[in-house]
Symmetry: C3
Subunit: 139 residues, 3 copies
């Protein structure tokens, strides 16, 4: 069994944003030499997500508005977590909707994807350096 | 390490619906010959889900109503994604609540399930052929 | 390839609650002898979750209030699932928001975690014994 590990670093300049990280994950897969197996891609921070969906700016705008409706950032004081001095409680909630991680099949050295699947880093408390873990196991 | 791959095809005749796909995944596991490992089952389309819950029609009705409340289909024009000519933005949102994929343990050649766990395909933009990927790795 | 399996049992004394199960999962990893691979941790029941987030009581209070707003327990009769004699339909909904499972990388015999990641059992229909599955594969 082969195993491979890499950390990807991001610094999203706004509080929230989505970044297509598919090319970096493909690069990891190339480096790993794995042709059959599984790739795990997970946020290492708890106010961020990794998810798979469409690379369409209108949709990302819809996600932003929808998540803000489901778990609004303001008023800060509505969340008990923010009594600790943080202002990111909403980010912990939004991340649960969008998910921490994806697991993707590796077949014949490629990410085994449907036609529109792309991997995104979802940031809900940005303006600082944060990490995603890529772990690949297989043969 | 053994690895196995199969695509399952579905054509749900309505916009939304849930299909119990546990028997097909069990068939895949039989074919794979894997006795210890992991099964990944994921929607290959981005307006569909794979999730594990109860095979109870009342519950599926509740999911339908609840998801429609969290991310309503109408009015179409409320979503910027639909400016692209699509009418399925709500499906992209609903799928994030229900999830893209499940990972299930394989123990002693069986899906290692609790008493009520069943795997479902969740369709949020149906009336066309769409795929689920089953990938199994192990020994 | 090594594989390891263990069931963890919980009896949360209230209807809903969150339990940090990271120490038990670390114990499983020690017992498994796996140094490189993947850990799957999943609820075996369909009104419970396993998720990764922060071990901060204020945040858990926020999750509780937020989930109760997204999928309220009362009135019981609003859910068709409860016509079966159950009163836990809301638990099946809440569990979809928080997720069934997590997959965690194993690197150098450790759970490969970011600074604040902790694994929780999320109970949405407690006051009885329920199980979590830990499955580890790797080398």
């Amino acid at each position: 069994m082969k195993s491979y590990r890499k950390e990807l670093w991001f610094n999203v300049p706004s509080r929230r944003g989505f970044v297509n990280i598919t090319p970096q994950v493909e690069e990891c897969l190339d480096e790993s030499g794995v042709s059959e197996g599984l790739v795990l891609v997970n946020a290492m921070h708890i106010t961020a997500s990794v998810f798979i969906n469409d690379d369409e700016p209108g949709l990302h705008h819809d996600y932003e508005e929808w998540l803000e409706k489901l778990a609004p950032h303001e008023p800060i004081r509505q969340y008990r977590h923010n009594d600790t001095g943080e202002d990111n409680a909403d980010g912990h909630l939004k991340r649960q909707v969008m998910g921490r991680e994806v697991v993707v099949a590796v077949t014949d050295r490629r990410l085994d994807f449907g036609p529109w699947e792309q991997i995104f880093y979802g940031e809900f408390d940005g303006r600082r350096r944060k990490r995603v873990l890529v772990k690949i196991i297989g043969e």
